[in-house]
Amino acid sequence: MSKNFSERLLPRPSPESQHFWDGTKEGELRLQRCGDCGKSYFPPRPFCPFCSSRNVLVYPASGQATLYSYVINHLPTPGFDGPHAVAVVTLEEGPRMMTNIVDCEQTPDTLVLDMPLEVTFERQNDDITLPLFKPAS
């Protein structure tokens, strides 16, 4: 992780998650799905958390989501300038993920639970592009 407080703390991809970060670099939000029970899941792992099958595949998600819940963080946080939403979204395919909501005001009036969102990708460096979400167009 970065030691510079002005920089966002970036993920370090693992052997089990590299496909996800390769995907975001290419503008794809990649999920995994079980070849046996058919359920989608997140975060990445090479087996199904619902039925323990190793028969899983990686596929691109639609990028559509809804806002499940959030806080607006007022504490100093590396890489953030002022209050910002730390949000959890429900993807169209079912899994949830933490993210930030961008391209809108970071206020309770603007950030309404269940509002439709779509993924957008923000490049951080050569290795890492983060999936963020913005109000659906």
């Binding site: 992780m1 966002r8 703390l9 970036l10 993920p11 370090r12 991809p13 693992s14 998650s17 997140f42 975060p43 499940y68 819940s69 959030y70 806080v71 607006i72 963080n73 007022h74 504490l75 946080t77 953030f80 209050p83 910002h84 730390v86 949000a87 959890v88 949830r96 993920m97 933490m98 993210t99 930030n100 309770p108 639970l113 983060l130």
Partner: protein
């Protein structure tokens, strides 16, 4: 339960509480342990089982002068100590040890010889999939479910604020509480914004302190100077350390599973309970706890508190030491919840519930990640 029961025969917190810049975390464990040994009329030579979290049990055993035949270093955050009690109970029943000491010490504010929070993320997926978005400290992780909870049950931020107000009333009766001055809902709402909807007074303290318990079998417990506090039921479970992956933001699976097991083991109903402690790192957690332990229906805990049922004279006095919001919170609060339960059952609490016979304590590890529930009583079933 087939096996013989186990009882608490020694219980104490650290001599000082709050800001303790002159003791290391290890010495906070030891200070609490020495106080609990004195409470039980024992020395370290009488102890043959040891469990702790924060420092490793071998470190503490050698420091205290204990030669254990049973060791538990389960470290799952704030409810570690409740799980230690559960595990120690079985160890005593199995004959692995006779007299167990369980300690907590944490330099949560002064950070003297403390491990610190950052290690929390080592090897965890949260470091990869939550930290980059600002989900890197409890105020931005533990709190995230609250807005969904409020929406689903048509509640308001005032309903969160009143939790802090209710607990401050208990703290006013506790000379050792960090904050004792009364507060209003407006005071809570107007305090510094931390992570909307949570203001400062909806967040727990950061203090230094510790506590320790000594357990032995019910047969031997009768020979001690303190009245035995029997363990009637225990439960443990976990959901997971990533708040983004919590199944349902209106209810904690770990709370429900651990609570149900504990009540079934104790063979009691919710109406039998005289006193409750619910780990309150943030103001929304007692709402989940009251509901997931079955004291209130989903969405009704806020009204239950608003109507005074958890306050002085209410039917279910809750967090009577003032809780993590007003009493103290060193980081892993579960030990203090049990200490207050034991005080209440002994009849020695600063805000004593008259005639309290059965007390339930709910602990949490991580952010809704792990739960331990324990039910204490002053009589064997």
């Amino acid at each position: 339960m087939k096996h013989q029961h186990v009882a608490v025969v020694g219980a104490a917190e650290t001599t000082e509480m709050g800001v303790i810049p002159n003791l290391t975390e290890l010495q906070l464990h030891a200070d609490a342990a020495l106080n609990a040994l004195a409470d039980a009329g024992l020395t370290a030579a009488d102890i043959d089982g040891i469990a702790c979290a924060g420092v490793a049990p071998d470190v503490l055993a050698s420091y205290l002068g204990v030669t254990p035949t049973w060791i538990d270093g389960t470290h799952i955050g704030g409810s570690s100590f409740i799980l230690h009690v559960r595990h120690a109970m079985v160890a005593i029943q199995a004959g692995h040890c006779k007299t167990v000491i369980i300690t907590h010490g944490e330099s949560g504010r002064s950070a003297v010889g403390a491990a610190g929070f950052p290690e929390f993320f080592a090897g965890r997926l949260g470091g990869e999939f939550e930290v980059p978005y600002g989900g890197n400290i409890p105020p931005t992780m533990f709190t995230i479910p609250a807005l969904r909870y409020l929406k689903e049950f048509d509640l308001t931020i005032e309903d969160l604020a009143q939790v802090a107000v209710a607990q401050r009333k208990w703290a006013a009766l506790n000379p050792r509480a960090t904050f004792k001055d009364p507060i209003t809902i407006d005071d809570v709402l107007n305090s510094k914004m931390i992570a909307y909807p949570f203001t400062l007074l909806m967040c727990c303290l950061r203090t230094d302190g510790g506590g320790a318990l000594i357990l032995t079998s019910a047969d031997r417990a009768k020979d001690f100077s303190q009245p035995p506090v029997y363990i009637l039921g225990t439960g443990e479970s976990c959901e997971g350390p990533m708040i983004s992956q919590m199944e349902d933001y209106t209810t904690s699976r770990a709370f429900r599973v651990a609570g149900e097991i504990a009540f079934a083991e104790a063979g009691i109903e919710r109406d039998d309970v005289d006193h409750v402690m619910i780990y309150d790192a943030f103001a929304h957690v007692p709402l989940y706890g009251l509901e997931d332990l079955g004291f209130c229906k989903p969405g009704e805990a806020a009204g239950f508190i608003r109507d005074g049922h958890t306050s002085l004279g209410g039917k279910l006095p809750t967090n009577t030491n003032g809780g993590g919001l007003s009493y103290m919170h060193s980081g892993m609060y579960g030990m203090y919840a049990m200490q207050e339960s034991v005080r209440q059952i002994r009849g020695l609490a600063p805000a004593q519930v008259p005639g309290a016979k059965i007390s339930v304590a709910l602990g949490i590890g991580g952010m809704f990640s792990v739960s331990g529930t324990i039910i204490f009583g002053n009589e064997l079933p």
